[in-house]
Amino acid sequence: MIEVRHLTKQFKNIVAVEDASFSVRDGAITGLLGHNGAGKSTTLRILYGLLKANSGTALIDGIDVMASPLKAQAVIGVMTDAHGLNPRLTAREHIEYFARLRGMQRHQMTKRIDELVALLDMSDIADRRAEGFSQGEKMKVCLCRSLVHDPQNLIMDEPTNGLDVMTTRSVRSILQKLKAENKCILLSSHIMQEISALCDEIVVIAEGRVLMQGTLDDLAKKTGEGDLEEAFMQITRTA
């Protein structure tokens, strides 16, 4: 459960996020939809504790991120937009590293990693060094290590960006599975198809402001447009 209230973030003289408020509930996939540079990444970075907002609060399962970032980080899994891996470590070593940083014990960790490797169908790359991994393979490793501690909340920045159809589909099915486990999932995207195929709730953001939050139907009703793209265009135009 994620609560964002009146969040504002300013870099020097650019206001990246302005008075943003929205909520993300458990058991649903929520999409943060906006153009490039609309403030999606900045909002997410505040939520996972790497940026400090100038004002406003962000609560994750009731924990104030700004006041106790480490506690908040303990209950989330994060997939950043940069999928940088260490070329000399294997996929499994990457995942083990994060599991250990989250304080997992060997037995529990090994079992969990085997599960995830099977789930993401990555047994062929699990013990290979990351050098030369494709975009999709890198992304699978990143997803694995963000899920290794079985977090209640999952924050993902552009998770399917640059992925082939096969990988995109397997990511989608995993997200659906997590949703069925009553997890709270927040992802950002600028791709309408992605959002409409995956998300239960949509938060439309433009120029750092949250313009609207609701289901696909809510958006259609409010704008009178059946197509998400048309609805999005209309919302951002009138703003």
């Binding site: 790497l50 997939m79 950043t80 940069a82 260490n86 470590l89 989250r102």
Partner: protein, 403 residues
């Protein structure tokens, strides 16, 4: 311990990085090898200067001179020329000259003294006799020997001149308005001492060089790979992350230090130092002393490199900054070269200067005072903690995490 998770991961990575391993292994071998060769050269030269043998053509024609040379420690080696076995006394017979020069060029001789047949006649008639010293001046080994021979011949000449003057009732002082006596204080021993002075320099350099690859890779490398952001998403305090990374570099630096010291002592023990009158014994106490002195540097050098590495955007950036910091270990070396002051207590607080002086003492066979050890070690520890703290602060900066 959470930091050890990070240290272990970074070490695993570093061990797989051939470049970092090469830096760790190559430098510690370089210094001791250099010291070994330098010492052997000095000892060779010292041995030969004391034991000069002189090939002479026509030694029989200058008994007096040859005696004089032998009395002064020169081993005369009589040489007969194939081109002119009985030696006719014709200096410039081309065949004789050719033979002499070929012999020198072929390294049968380094140099050769040629005495004319009429030498004794000319001398007894109080005339000037021309003798020739053939040598190859570019050959390093022959120069000091030839110098010594020339000096002795000149000495004999002066003695003879004095006798001639006395025979004519003139004081020899008339032709010697000034007499110069050269006293060389630089013994072989002090030359060796000045080479021993390089040992601390190599040891301090090793602290900086051996951990640098790791320190840069875990900081600037992490930023360049774009893996820093995802690391910081884990609920681990920044100082824990910095300490974990620092410790990985510290381990490399410490291994390098120990390696360079072991190899240095090994190469010194292989050199016959006693032949130039140096007693260099390394006991357990000295080794412990040196280790206690230099190990704080294995903490300090990587802490500086981690700090600079976090500041740098990329690997290249970091290397450019750090090549400037490589001047740091050289500073105390040069300071001590020109420093005429005695050691003072404040010098212990200057990082690296303190260690340099302690090491110099130990290598010279002196035992520095315990307070000096403690203060220099503590100073290095405090400075490294300052850099680690600074690095943790840097890691909190938004501009550093995202760029």
């Amino acid at each position: 311990m959470m930091w050890s998770v990070i240290t272990r991961k970074e070490l695993k990575d570093a061990v797989r990085d051939r470049r970092a391993l090469m830096a760790l292994l190559l430098f510690p071998v370089l210094g001791p090898a250099m010291i070994y060769f330098m010492f052997n050269m000095i000892i060779d030269i010292a041995e030969e200067a004391g034991d000069v043998s002189l090939p002479v053509v026509g030694a029989a024609y200058a008994d007096d001179l040859v005696d004089y040379l032998e009395q002064n420690g020169i081993l005369i080696e009589e040489v007969t020329l194939d081109a002119d076995p009985v030696y006719s006394g014709e200096f410039y017979s081309q065949a004789a000259l050719d033979e002499i020069h070929t012999a020198i060029r072929n390294r049968r001789f380094d140099y050769l003294l040629v005495i004319p047949r009429d030498f004794d006649d000319l001398v007894s008639q109080s005339r000037t006799a021309n003798i020739e010293l053939h040598l190859e001046s570019t050959r390093a080994k022959s120069a000091p020997k030839a110098g010594r021979v020339q000096e002795l011949i000149r000495g004999w000449g002066q003695e003879t001149a004095a006798l001639r003057l006395i025979a004519r009732g003139v004081s020899p002082d008339v032709i010697n308005p000034v007499s110069i006596v050269r006293i060389d204080v630089a013994s072989q021993q002090s030359r060796v001492q000045s080479i021993l002075g390089i040992v601390p320099f190599f040891v301090i350099m090793a602290a900086f060089i051996c951990g640098m690859g790791v320190a840069v890779d875990v900081t600037a490398g992490e930023r360049e790979r774009k893996s820093l952001e995802s690391l910081l998403v884990n609920p681990v305090p920044r100082y824990t992350i910095v300490i974990g990374k620092w410790m990985a570099a510290v381990l490399f630096s410490a291994v390098g230090l120990v390696l360079v010291m072991v190899l240095n002592f090994f190469s010194l023990s292989q050199v016959p130092l006693e032949e130039v009158g140096i007693v260099f014994t390394i006991g357990r106490l000295e080794i412990i002393g040196v280790l206690v002195t230099v190990l704080p540097l294995a903490l300090l050098a990587p802490s500086i490199q981690i700090f600079v590495g976090i500041f740098a955007r990329s690997f290249k950036d970091a290397q450019a900054y750090l090549s400037f910091f490589m001047m740091l270990p050289m500073a105390p070396f040069f300071y001590n070269m020109f420093n005429t002051q005695d050691r003072e207590f404040w010098m212990n607080f200057v990082p690296m200067l303190g260690q340099h002086m302690l090491l110099a003492d130990v290598v010279r066979g002196e035992t520095p005072a315990i307070p000096d050890f403690v203060m220099a070690g503590l100073a290095a520890l405090v400075y490294s903690l300052v850099f680690v703290y600074g690095a943790s602060r840097l890691m909190k900066r938004e501009g550093i995490i995202f760029s």
